[in-house]
Every structure is written in C-alpha cells, then in structure tokens.
Amino acid sequence: MRKVLLGIGGLVLLVVVWELYKALGPATGVVVGDLTVLPRTTDLAMPHVWDMASRFFGETGSGRNAQPVWLAVFEASVFTLGVSAVGWLVGVTVGLLLAVLMQRFRTAESAVLPWIILSQTVPLIAIAPLVRRWGSQIEFGDFTWENWMSVAVIASYLAFFPVSIGALRGLNSPDTIHVELFRSYGVGWWRTLFRLRLPASVPYLLPALRLAAANAVIGTVVAEVSIGLRGGIGRMIIEYAQQASGDPAKTWAPIFGAIAVGLVAAGFVALLGVLLHRFRRGEVPA
C-alpha cells in the first residue's frame, strides 16, 4: 500500500514540477551562453498537463475515420506490445541458447562473447533497412516475410544482449561444491544444467529479462519508425508530431502509450519473478 502511495506521489510531484516550471520559467527557456539547458515554456513546447489529458480523451481524424485519441493510442499500444512480445521471446530464446553454449564450451565463450558485445554498438537505424531487405527475400510455401517480423527481429536484437550476459553469469553461479556434488552423483551435463545451473541462474536472469523487456519495447518503437511499419506507437508518434504546431498536446498521447507498453512489459516480468520466487531465496543474503 505504501509503495502504491509513494508511486502516485512521485507522479503528482512530476506534474507539479512541470506546471510550476511552465508558470515561472522564462518563455525562451533557460539559456547558458548559446546552450539551452532548460526547455522553452511555451504551450508548443510544454503543453499544460490538463491539455494533454483533455486531448487524450478528445477526438482524432474526421468524418468516418473519427475516433477518440485514447482508443487510437490503445490500439497502437496493443499492436506494439504484441510485436515487442514476439521480439522479447525470440531475444530471450536466442540469449539463453547463447549463454548455454558459452557455459558448455569455454572456447565458445572466448569466440562469441566479444561479438555479442560488439553487436550492441551497431546503431539500430543502420540495421533496420538491412533486416527488411533480407526479410523480403525470404519466401517459402505459404510463408511470406512481413514487415512486422522485421520489427520483431530488431527488437530481439536489442533484447537478447542482457539475457545472454545475465544468463551466462547465472549459469556459472553455482558453487564448486554444488557442481562437484552433481559430479559425485554421476549426473551428466544436461541434467546438471536443468537441475542446478538453470535454477541457480534465476536471480541473475530476472533483472536481465526486465532489461530485455524494456529493450524490446524501445527496439520495436524505433524500428517501427525506421522500417515504416504502420499501426504501432512508433508511427503514431511521428504522425502526431507532424501535427504538433497546431495541436501540441496531441503529440503526448502516443508517448503515454509507449510508457504504458513499457509498464505492462515490466509488470509481466515482475509477475514471472513472483512465480519463480522459490528460486530467489538465495538473493536475500548479500
């Protein structure tokens, strides 16, 4: 209960700070030298919180296409959440497989780990068109590659990284004594993996999964923009931003949607953590 109140308190504080600065700050923003360190306080740059809210529940489009903004944002959020979920699943699977491979073969660790780290230095914008082009060449039977799959692949590209690193640490976390105990039982590597290494890796894996979820959402939103996939939050942010000069409050609606998607994703991982609480007993003593 206290946590919930504190959470709401934080939100209220944010709103108060926003409005206070908007009321008291200079309209041109705080400028040091040539550098703007705090934003302008015009309605264009910082709409009132209540304007954002009323716009959120207002209408968008015209004629037959008219629908409430919140509904449009909700539909886009669900779409984005679905694509990120696919990206997250693929990323987690790939990350886990890589970690298991690296745990099993020391040479694999030396060979693969640098590439895994290097992979994260490639900018998303650079790989998005590549993934799309490669994807469009995949076609067998009834299966055709669709753009949302490219987006999911890019999301997974961001998501697999924390999982592979966290899982590798987790898989290597059992004490020598446990490993030797399993050896004394004459149990092979696979069974040691499932009975000892995987359960022991849970405390390391959960933060990694949470990071992966956040990365998958960000990856999806950014990839939607750079691939040009319609229907999701990413495209919506761009579309609404183009109307920003006339309707500045509307720009914020899809941003709230993106936050909601992130929260849902993080909540899902928290739920996983609750389900796996048995394996987290070791976390208590530092």
Partner: protein, 282 residues
C-alpha cells in the same frame, strides 16, 4: 610392526576393501609449469564398516586424497579402488555418499527435497523417495523441518541435512571433508556423537578428513596422520576405544581417550621428519 601394515594385509583376502589406495602420487601443475607434489607414495586400505580419519596440518593433501577416492580428481600415478572397482566406476555406481565442509544445500529446495535430490536424479519413484527422506530426517532428528528451506536452518542443522543427503542411497562408504569444520564447539561435539550413532546404525565405512585431534580420536577406528610438502602418510594409529555403541559422551573424559589424543599429537608434531615410515609407536 606398525598398525598400518598389520591391518592392510588381510583386507585383500576374504573381503573386498571399501577403499584401496596403492602407490598414489598426485602432482598439480600450476602456471609456468611449476609443479606441486600434493601426495606421494600413498598406501591406504579401509575395511568395510571401518571409520578412518585423515588428519594433518593444512597442505598435507588430506582433502586431495579424499577427492581422489571420490573421483573428483585423478591420481598422477597409482590406483584407487572402491569396493574393488575403479574410483570412476564407483562414482558412477554411487558407491559412496559425500559431505563437504559447507552443507551445500540447494537453496530453492526444501529440506526433504534436498535429501531426495540424489534419489530423484537416479530415478527413484516418488513415494519411495518420500519414505526414505522421512526415515533419514528421523535419523538426524529434523522431522519437524522437512518443509523448511535451508536458509531457515542453523549451520548445524544444515550440516545434518547434508549428512542425511549423503546417506540417502544407503552407501557403504561415506566420504566427509571436514563436515563439522564450520560449526561451533558444542554443536560439533553433538554432531560427532550423532555421527558415531549413525554410522553404527548404517554400518557404512567412513573416510573422514579433519584437523581436530580429539575429533579424529573420538570418531575413528584408525587415525591416519599425514605430513605436508610433499603430502605423505606419516603413520597410522589404531584407536581402541571400543565399538561405536560404547562411544558415548563420557568417553571424552576417559583416560584412554586422552592417551590416544596425546599419541596422535606426538605423531603430528612428533619426531624429526627423518625415517618417517619406520616410527615405533607402542
């Protein structure tokens, strides 16, 4: 004639020895090809049902010797057999149960699930496992804690769970590497008394690594005194304090107990390390 050789010879005859170590050297190769001789010319036989302690200062290779018997390491030369099999085969056949200085319980398993772990890994059916763990919990006096998690137990209780786990498959041989080393003195003495009772009930042979002289004397039929750099067996002392049933707490006050303790102490600190093997001790 030392106690060692008189007791070793008949073991090869009618009964297969629980542990038979012959001509074992263990050399560790470190960085830059530097070698450390951890064990040299080790000869040791443990009869079935016999309690043998390995004692010596740090670095004398007593734990290494235990690890060789457990096939957690392989000797550089010489052979180790357990119940007539190679150490490796004996490990695969689950001829021994093992307990370390740390209890090493899996934190996500309850006490009873920890005890059942080896049974589960070897495909013993559920009801049978339950029955066995209940039996063992009674043996170590932890019946009320079956559903507790290891972090809810004291160090001594955790160690008792570890011993119960080592006994789960009724091994004929127990290997213990300073299992009471991390416990306080009072818990330690109580655990020793319990271990004597448990081994008497199960009839298992025990190889027990320790660096406590009273502990070694109290528990053992024979005490193997080792010396470091290189690790060798300096002497083997037969402790005659009666059968396990006769070893109760007041034995600790006994004259014979003290005599044996001082004999082990003399051997440990003992005479100049020349002519080690030929020491006359009685």
């Amino acid at each position: 004639m030392s106690a060692a050789s008189t007791e070793q010879s008949p073991a090869d005859g009618l009964v297969t020895a629980a542990v038979h170590v012959t001509g074992v050297d263990k050399i560790f190769t470190g960085k830059k090809k530097a070698t450390v001789t951890a064990l040299e010319k080790i000869e040791l036989t443990v009869a079935p049902g016999e309690f043998v302690s390995l004692i010596g200062p740090s670095g004398c290779g007593k734990s290494t010797l235990l690890r060789l018997i457990a096939d957690l390491d392989t000797p550089s030369t010489g052979t180790v057999t357990v119940f007539g099999k190679t150490a490796r085969q004996a490990r695969i056949d689950q001829e021994y149960g093992i307990a370390f200085q740390q209890a090493g319980l899996l934190p996500w398993r309850t006490v009873s699930a920890n005890i059942e772990l080896p049974l589960e890994l070897h495909g013993v059916a559920g009801p049978k496992r339950k029955a066995r763990s209940a039996e063992l919990l009674a043996l170590v006096g932890l019946t009320d804690f079956a559903e507790s998690y290891p972090d809810q137990l004291s160090g001594g209780m955790q160690q008792r769970v570890a011993i119960a786990r080592a006994l789960a498959e009724s091994p004929r041989l127990l290997l213990m590497d300073e299992p009471f080393g991390a416990l306080d003195e009072m818990t330690r003495e109580r655990m020793q008394t319990e271990l004597v009772r448990i081994t008497a009930e199960t009839g298992a042979a025990v190889v027990f690594v320790t660096h406590s002289i009273p502990e070694a004397v109290y528990l053992s039929n024979r005490v193997v005194v080792m010396s470091p750099r290189p690790g060798r067996i300096r002497d083997i002392l037969t402790v005659s304090l009666g059968s396990a049933a006769e070893r109760s707490d007041h034995l600790r006050e006994d004259e014979a107990f003290f005599t044996n303790v001082s004999r082990v102490r003399e051997l440990l600190h003992g005479e100049a390390p020349v002519g080690i093997r030929g020491v006359e001790n009685r």
